[in-house]
């Protein structure tokens, strides 16, 4: 299992490699969605949240809050990869997931721009 800092480092590297301007611990505040995102590019509205007990994320990100974030992602308003520390076993696995997520984001953003 990865620690908060290990997981965030892998994700930040992958997102930056894809061209995103990642801000650490960005304070996201829109309507009822208010939380500190581990890595977020406010310009493209793309980021990631590595959820760990160590960082107290389970208190801040309640199931209701995650539901609201997913709703916004489904509407194409923002793209945040939510990763629970218990769902990944290694840095390599996390990197693969991040890269695939970013591919999907690219497709969706392109589709959004065309529309």
């Amino acid at each position: 299992m990865l620690t908060e800092s290990q997981g965030c480092a892998v994700l930040k590297e992958s997102f930056q490699a894809a061209g995103y301007d990642i801000h650490d611990n960005y304070r996201f505040s829109e309507g009822t969605i208010q939380f500190s995102v581990d890595g977020y590019d406010p310009g493209t509205r793309v980021g990631f949240e590595f959820i760990t007990t160590e960082a107290g994320d389970r208190v801040e990100l309640s199931p209701e809050m995650i539901g609201q974030i997913e709703k916004r992602i489904a509407q194409g308003e923002l793209f945040i990869l939510l990763v629970d520390e218990y769902d990944v076993e290694s840095e390599a696995e996390l990197r693969t997931h991040a890269e695939r997520f970013l591919e999907m984001v690219a497709v969706h953003r392109q589709r959004g721009q065309q529309e």
Binding site: E70, F79, I80, L82, V83, T96, R100, F101, M104
Partner: protein, 473 residues
Amino acid sequence: MAEMISREAYLAAAEATKDKLQTTLRQLEHQQTDSRREVSSLVSRTETALSELAAAILADVSPESVDAAVALTGCRTLAMVNPATELTKAQTKLKEQLAERSQQISARTADISELPIFQNRLLLRAPRTGTLVREITELEEFREPLAQVLQKAAHPRLQRLLDVEYGLPSYSVPFWRLSYFADWKAGDEIVAGFGGNKTFAEIRSEYLSARDGVGVYDQKLSKLRAEVAQGEAVEREYDLLQTEKLAMSESRHPLQAQLARMPEQFLKDARIQLERYLADLDLVMIGDRLQTVPQLDVMAKRYFGLRKQTEYLRQTSSQLLDNTRPAIEQSLARLQRDIAKYQRPKYAGNRFDRDQFQKLGDRNKRCLDLMGRHRQAQQVIVSFHGYEHGRLDEDFLWWDLVTDGQLKANYIDEVARFRALHPAYKYRRPKKRPAGEELDEDGVEFLDDDGDAAVAVIQTSDSFFTNHRTDFS
């Protein structure tokens, strides 16, 4: 007038007396242990003599032997639950069981012989050629390639991929959930297992088809294997019945063995009953009847004598050793307390009475005397073997025979009671039998009973050597 001594002289004398008492106590403990060992040995010899006596009285469990044993001993237990009758009943019952079992074997063997799964056993289950065997082999061959598909597709996430319809247009897991990527990864791994040339949808279809096929084959195989197992079980049962039948014909059947052991077992149990009865019985009660069977009379006297020896030694140890010990222990404890007390400086100028050491010395000497008496009594009791000179009647004191009338022991209940009931009694020592000669009419000689004779002194007469085996030299 009492002689007074200084504290130093007092303490020195006290230490010396303490050492003597401690030595005596150690000797006493040693003698008690030795005595317990001798009692235990006598108990063991008594038990053996009792077993031998019971075996001689009840030679077998025939009705005649049991009746004779009851008549001789008056053992009502044997009369009420007669082992001869019980044996006959048990033998009859067991023979009936044997006959019943024999019938069961014949009936079941005949039933099995009629069963098609038994009659056609070779046709159905012969290795390689039996129809069931061949059918199973064929189905296993058909099943194998399908099983290989299942094996290739095996993956911890496979069932989830099937459930969420991964690879199909209906797959609906959103890409921002991590499970989307885990599904993706697992799907890729499964596809790789099939060589990488098929889509997951194709593999899914192949897998589901193989799974259904394997399910059908497994059901058929399970039914065929159950049929084979049932047939094999019947064959095993048949073989076991045949083995049992053979054992019966050769008299090796467990029930037959049990039947053969039965008289011996009943005899053993009956003898145990008789032993219990005799152990609680004062043999004097049946002494006149035993006298009519000389061989039994000798054995009964031996057993009775050993019983007496055991009791005499027990009481001698209790009276002369066990009862003496507390006095020595108390004296020793008192002396140790006094030594500790008078060592303190405040008693430096005190004067002490010397007489108290004389008293303690006397007590120690009395104890040593009693121990000496015990040693001699034990030696005499344990070495006694002249049982044939004893009598099983009211007017006979075994103590005198055991000790050849040389030891006085009113501390033994039986001796004290006997002397009270027979004030004119004099011990009649059995006469020494000269080589090749018969005894006189009564075969005894009178011995003056000197009631005041020193009890610790043992005279070694000829008679004593006749009745005792220990070497006193």
